[in-house]
Amino acid sequence: MEKKDTSRRDFLITGLLASVAVGCSDKNPFVADDQQVTLSGEKVKLLSADGEIIEIDKALLKPVPDLPQVSNSEARKGIAGKKFVMVIDLSRCKNLKKCQQACNHAHFVEDAQNWIKIHPMQDAEHSAPYWQPTTCMHCDEPPCVKVCPVDATFKRQDGIVLIDSDRCVGCRFCMAACPYSTRVFNWEKPELPIEIEKKHYSCETSIPQKKGTVGKCDFCPDMARKGELPHCVSACPNGVFFFGDMYEDSVTNGPETFRFSDLIRDKAGYRLMEDLGTKPSVYYLPPVNRNFKFEDGLKIEEEAKSKS
């Protein structure tokens, strides 16, 4: 193989010889690595596949490789027969910020970037203030997708708007176009654990975030594929977020499940900035008969500020 003028036949022969050489080495390739591990003596209890509790040496544990991620073209198509929708019940929110923390943790987003923001809102001088969490609205007429010059941000058949960070050129036109200010930019190299940084980027998990590209809430389609709820939904102890499928006409926050159309009709659900024609996939239930006082959230706000 070293010689430049080696013919194809020579190449094949050398290759065969090389593989024979490996086969004859004293290391048996058919024995998995973990059988050569020196035992640590420390035992861990595990639940086996048939329901028995077994004890295993700690040294034998090894990280399970991730389930294979869907391919980029699959991630661009989305999940067939679904139309994801979110309902945010403003009467239940007290600005606990658990959704934000869970989201940042799951996506390895720094605190300064916050894909979920909880806005203190007051619509008019004499109207009552309330807390309004905002995610990406996953608009059906997404202004960000319209302006993207390279198809790095795209709309899928299941209604989710995602970002391909391997393609984004960082022009930030989508950030200017989004009226909900939902998008954040990786101004510097994101600080990520090494194993996350080494991963291949997936549009569905939105990790790892990359320097010089745009990030935002992705509605956690990887969780949806596993049949689980987005991180913000399961993290909220007050059940503010409902997630579901428009075609099934149901939304759930985990403990409670509602018929989507009933919920929106009975509680007068609405969407943000309807007049812009963006057609968001996130609906809000008005802050009536509230579970908490607005002021409760202010304390949390101050605590969060003093921490940072």
């Binding site: 923001k117 806005h119 302006v147 010059p149 390279v150 050129v169 960082g170 950030m175 101004w187 010089g212």
Partner: protein, 436 residues
């Protein structure tokens, strides 16, 4: 051009051939190169560390790179105004101004293209624009029209240069060695035969006709980068016309400044006469009034209604954080130049030069005011974001890169003027004959 009629052809050639840099020229060029190098170093830092070296944030996500880009696109429009519009409307006195305006156009559009790459988070992925480009994005429209405009401007500069290159090849002893190879490479095939001349004239006419719609396109599309969004201050149907009129103003202002400088440095008083300043003064007043008119439309109509999202934006401009800069830009960029140039005495070279500088500086800040304040007033109030995102003032790296790009554009003009005659020799010679 009474005076020129007396000038002999030899004198014209002698006067207009490119001259070696004097001491002033050397200092000027060296200064520009140093500013460019500082900008290049700042850009190196930005490439290494990311756009974090700028003071942009998730709210002000476009800063002076973008306003500088708009400025460059604006000033480049002048090539089409002086060369094409004046040619098609048969304005005879344009001759000594066309080359200058074409040089400005080429250098400005070059740096517009460069500065937009500087703004990108991933400049190495520029190729994605061609590999994955989507025509529905106004950025793609900009790529297409700016590319086209760049080519047309370059062609126009080149084709109008051909007879001058022939003159320079002939007058080898007077021009000196340094660029003789370049001249031969560029134009040794040009013999000035009747057939060649016919093709050249046709080509110029065609280019002059197509450059006008393309010029309107580059700045209209650039304005649409803003107007196609929902944001108060950008969401305006007036934007295309507003930008184009502003572009003609700043371009004409730039030409006046260049006219004055070249006239002084190259002693071209017999070619760029007071009459040219007088004429350009009238045009500048007209363009400034036109731009003022669009400004009134742009600010007064929304201010009459004071819709809630517009209200915050407008009050920040009129009386708030940006008030000083806003009124400065309006006064310096339009009102004071109009007052200076509306009087006959104001249309003499020196006051015109001052007015031209004012117009250009005002226009630069005006672009900044169009881009930044809007981004500080999003629909949903800023929240759960770092405090530093609430304000924007460019970092030293941003200033260095922006100033480096301005210096770079001036450097290109300087070098073009060093290599080629700033006034078309051929045109000056041929223009005289019919008048005799």
């Amino acid at each position: 051009m009474e005076k020129q009629n007396i000038l002999s052809a030899d004198k014209v050639i002698h006067d207009l051939l490119p001259q070696k840099f004097g001491l002033r020229g050397k200092i000027w060029t060296a200064t520009l190169i140093i500013i460019c190098l500082i900008g290049a170093y700042a850009y190196f830092l930005q490439l290494r560390d990311g756009l974090v070296v700028t003071n942009m944030g998730d709210y002000v996500s476009w800063g002076i790179y973008i306003s500088n880009f708009v400025f460059f696109v604006a000033i480049s429009l002048v090539g089409s105004l002086i060369t094409a519009i004046f040619r098609l409307t048969d304005v005879h006195w344009r001759t000594p101004l066309t080359r200058i305006s074409e040089m400005i156009a080429v250098s400005a559009i070059t740096f517009a293209s460069l500065i937009i790459i500087v703004d990108m988070g991933r400049p190495e992925r520029l190729v994605n624009l061609f590999a994955h480009g989507r025509l529905q994005s106004p950025i793609m429209w900009d790529v297409v029209v700016i590319g086209t405009y760049f080519c047309i401007s370059l062609f126009l500069l080149y084709i109008t240069l051909l007879p001058d290159i022939r003159i320079m090849i002939k007058a080898k002893e007077m021009v000196g060695k340094p660029f003789s190879k370049l001249y031969r490479w560029l134009g040794s095939y040009w013999k000035g035969t009747e057939a060649q001349e016919k093709i050249r004239n046709r080509a110029i006419t065609i280019l002059c006709i197509i450059i006008i719609p393309v010029a309107f396109c580059i700045h209209t599309v650039t304005s649409w980068l803003f107007a196609t969004t929902y944001r108060p201050g950008w969401d305006s149907t007036n934007f295309g016309a507003y930008f184009v009129s502003g572009a003609f103003l700043v371009g004409a202002g730039g030409v006046v400044v260049a006219m004055y400088v070249f006239r002084r440095v190259y002693k071209l008083e017999q070619y760029i006469t007071e009459r040219h300043f007088e004429k350009m003064g009238r045009i500048l007043v007209m363009l400034a009034l036109l731009y003022l008119y669009f400004n009134v439309n742009e600010y007064l109509v929304p201010a009459f209604k004071m819709k809630k999202p517009e209200e915050t934006h407008l009050s920040e401009l009129f009386t708030g954080e940006f008030a000083t800069l806003f009124w400065f830009a309006i006064l310096i960029g339009m009102i004071i130049p109009i007052i200076i140039m509306v009087f006959k005495k104001g249309r003499r070279p020196l006051p015109m030069f001052i007015a031209g500088v004012m117009v250009v500086i005002g226009a630069w800040f005006k672009r900044y005011l169009i881009v930044t304040p809007t981004l500080l007033h999003p629909f949903l109030p800023k929240h759960d974001a770092p405090e530093r995102y609430s304000h924007y003032f460019p970092s030293w790296q941003e200033w260095a890169i922006a100033m480096g790009s301005l210096a770079g554009a001036l450097l290109i003009i300087t070098l073009l003027a060093r290599m080629f005659p700033v006034i078309s020799i051929y045109k000056t010679l041929t223009d005289e004959t019919p008048q005799k």
